[in-house]
Symmetry: D3
Subunit: 61 residues, 6 copies
């Protein structure tokens, strides 16, 4: 541990995921004192029609 | 918040997801007094071979 | 399945959880055609200091 | 319940998932005394570029 | 990875958790060929009133 | 969205959680272009006996 799960609607580029993973791992090392090698980060990219805010799917007009 | 994650095996139509999201958001507003705009709902639709009940994958004969 | 996970900051009364579970199970039966006995619902009630929106913990002034 | 979520990077064959589901259901029956029919197991197979360890995506050289 | 999340209503003894963790780690090593040191297992023990099956909380008469 | 779930064994101070939430929200704003107000972060702090690595609970000698 830590295990971090990042869930978004839509997609991220590989480059975005690489930079986010690097920054979050760094944040947890500096602030929570977790060794870098312990941090797992899993990204879930969901279709817009699988995410709702305020009762409306995100692909709605 | 709230964050609601609905996980099923198989798929739902867009219309089913829209109606489920609307009803659950309404439920949480009426009963838990959560403002509609705060409620996130994420649907995960898994292949039948990725879900097991009673030790058997759901696509098993 | 379905498995539904409802995560909120703060607490719900037992009565609120009972009514929410009943309504969501009903929603999934009517709209997604899932038999009532298959639906699992798990509630996670997190302390306000364990939930952040917009970069601020919810217990912040 | 129990609800078990197994998340990996990469894929498993159908046969691997079937055997893992059978063994874990058996483990929970023997040790936790949970009836087999109650145990749900959901597998999530993520692309290597969606999983990071030690700040590096798994598809990195 | 793998990351395994086991969610139950009620509690498990420390001994039960130790034996379950050992067996599941072994299962993933033998069948999915995942090195033992990579497997994280997290147990969530929920109060009976936070889990519903078939629309009823588990602490209901 | 995004919804970020950070799961650790042990505890974090309120100050650590506040700083981690701020940094991760900032990371997702800069790199993934997600408006700050959309980002939810939920922390789960598990007892050491509820987390296993390599088949051993973390509270084991």
């Amino acid at each position: 541990m830590p295990y971090v799960n990042i869930r978004i609607a839509g997609t991220l580029s590989r480059e975005q995921k690489a930079r986010i993973a690097e920054e979050i791992t760094d944040t947890l090392e500096r602030i929570a004192l977790k060794p870098r090698s312990y941090t797992y980060i899993a990204f879930d990219e969901l279709p817009d029609e699988n995410w709702a805010i305020a009762g409306k799917l995100l692909d709605e007009d």
